[in-house]
Amino acid sequence: MNEMELLTWARGPGLNIAIGLFILGMLWRLVEIYTLGRKKDLAPARNAPGASGWHTVVRRSMPPHGMLKRSPISYIGGYIFHIGLFIVVFLFAPHIKLVDSLLGLSWPGLPSQVIDAVTVVTLATMLLVLFDRINNPVKRYLSTVGDYAAWMLTFLPLLTGFLAVKHLLLPYTTMLALHILSVELLLVALPFTKLIHVFTLFASRWYNGDISGKRGVPV
């Protein structure tokens, strides 16, 4: 298989397989998690303004009082690389074209120079948070192979995408094929790693806000 055939496979059958596995994996996990259900709370609820699951879904995106100072790298690094990933994944013109070809949905993108800059910042921030994971005693203590694998699964598509666009290191065709393959790996692994938080965090925040909300505490 030469690089062109590899790219063709990655773009065609590879992508279909990856998306298929991703959808099946996600469905499986979501069913596995949420069909466990929960018991009805029989204590009469106390209502208070701002105390509900939905409030917490939104509110928990901001650092609670005093926390930014206690862990600036987690918050600032976290914001930068999450927003950076969002911009690169959803506002890069070729990505929008791909979604358009698959789903017929389209929206305006950002100029490629902006995407380049965001990518560099995001890559650098991801290296910083990796360093923090190794350096911070709590993060190091909690970290397992899964944490480093999840980092790598996220970092590789970003890196290969940047190298492909910039025609660096390997021929464009090869690098683009590697980029697509790394995304496919990410898709297949996502439901079974901590990366699933992309979806479950909304439900988790909602449950937390709901549990406290019934007691009249906005959290």
Partner: protein, 420 residues
């Protein structure tokens, strides 16, 4: 596998629900929960990271309820939860967790870690890995009626003294009263002034009330140890007594977990809503304040700060009454930097204060350094609180560090300054 371990794992399997599964799935090991936990911030030891304390529950969840975990278990690749591990975890689940709920306030993916600790304790308790101090307190509550082994004749004795000192009658077993008042043993023994204070306030407001000779104890060690069967038995006494007397409301005292037990866990433990309303004493007092019934003759001159008990405020939802009431009775109130629902725990909640092993006591004093710094920052020598257990824990620590801090109970303080 020992029979008790099997029981413990079964208990864990039973309490795992969709929120638990969602929380474990969402955790990204960011470690921010550690920054909210006084056992981590004051020791710097990463083993006190809240999510790490949940490791046994997480593995039972994975091995029982996830495809990959079940495959790993079948092929022998999964690490099973053992008795030795649970024994080692006792320190993390009880000594160094007061279920204060601060970690649940900060987790960026929204995990309610305290909700999970409460559930993990179910497995710890039935597998025999709860600390002796809490086991004994629970035993005394089930067998004798209260965690301190206090029986009704002793309470009657205290009532006699209170009636003589306060000049107010303390009604007992009066059917049809509006309120049935619950107490905590700690109050009866150490702060009987609380009962006199209540008698004064009820009389002033013209509200009928009663104690029950069958259920005077509000505390529920079953909740602290994490055994729902025992917790149900203890809470049922109150429910039966209140429904027998036909009271409209049951008044929960200045005790954190007692409020949690009767107000929030109670109906879920007995499996049905109560036929009465549960009211925290501060909610009642705040209602009287708003009505203008609770008028003060004078105010405390010395500046004060306030320690918010976690189970009443952050986990209990009595958010606004404490400060509103305090401001009625003091000239100057200096709140701590982190107060209200973001307060820091006294270090002895969730049953921790019942553990008397030297290492656990030492850890409590270390954790108290957070509160100590908070008190010192306010620059006052008087601290008001409204939980008998906080009060005992704080007093022990204040003595230990030879601090010059005076502690006052909020209800008592209000009663002392109440208009005649």
């Amino acid at each position: 596998m020992s029979a008790s371990l099997q029981k413990g794992i079964n208990a864990l399997k039973e309490v795992i629900d969709a929120p638990v599964a969602s929380f474990f799935a969402s955790c990204v090991h960011c470690g921010l929960c550690a920054e909210a936990c006084l056992f981590y911030t004051e020791t710097g030891d990463p083993k006190y990271t809240p999510i790490h304390k949940l490791e046994p529950l997480k593995r039972v969840y994975q091995q029982e309820y996830t495809l990959l975990g079940r495959l790993a278990k079948m092929t022998g690749l999964a690490k099973p939860v053992t008795d030795d591990e649970l024994e080692a975890w006792s320190e993390l689940v009880y000594d160094s967790c007061t279920m204060c709920g601060r970690c649940s306030m900060v987790c960026p993916v929204g995990n309610d870690l305290t909700y999970m600790i409460r559930k993990l304790r179910e497995g710890m308790a039935v597998s025999g890995h709860a600390p002796e101090g809490i086991v004994n307190a629970t035993k005394r509550t089930v067998e004798l009626g209260g965690p301190m082994g206090l029986k009704w004749p002793a309470v009657q004795n205290v009532i006699k003294h209170v009636e003589a000192d306060s000049g107010h009658k303390v009604p007992v077993d009066q059917a049809g009263a509006e309120y049935m008042v619950l107490l905590s043993s700690m109050e009866i023994v150490n702060y009987p002034e609380y009962i006199g204070a209540l008698a004064r306030i009820f009389n002033k407001a013209g509200i009928t009330w009663t104690l029950s000779s069958e259920a005077f104890e509000a505390t529920n060690a079953g909740i602290q140890i994490g055994n729902s069967d025992l917790a149900r038995e203890i809470v049922s006494r109150i429910v039966n007594a209140a429904e027998k007397l036909g009271v409209k409301k049951v008044l929960s005292p200045e005790c954190g977990h007692a409020y949690m037990a009767i107000r929030w866990e109670g109906p879920n433990l007995v499996g049905r809503p109560f036929k009465f309303e549960v009211v925290h004493v501060l909610e009642l007092l705040d209602e009287l304040r708003a009505k203008g019934v609770l008028k003060m003759k004078d105010k405390l001159k010395t500046p004060v700060t306030l320690h918010d008990p976690c189970q009443i405020v952050r986990r209990g939802g009595v958010l606004n009454a404490p400060e509103a009431l305090l401001k009625e009775v003091v000239v100057e109130f200096r709140p701590m930097t982190d107060h209200g629902k973001m307060n820091w725990c006294c270090g002895g909640g969730g049953g921790a204060s019942a553990i008397h092993e030297p290492a656990a006591e030492e850890l409590r004093f270390t954790a108290f350094k957070r509160k100590k710094a908070q008190i010192e920052e306010t620059g006052v020598n008087t601290m008001v609180t409204f939980c008998a257990n906080c009060r005992i824990t704080l007093e022990e620590s204040i003595d230990h560090f030879e601090m010059n801090t005076q502690l006052l109970g909020l209800t008592e303080l209000l009663a002392e300054h109440l208009e005649d």
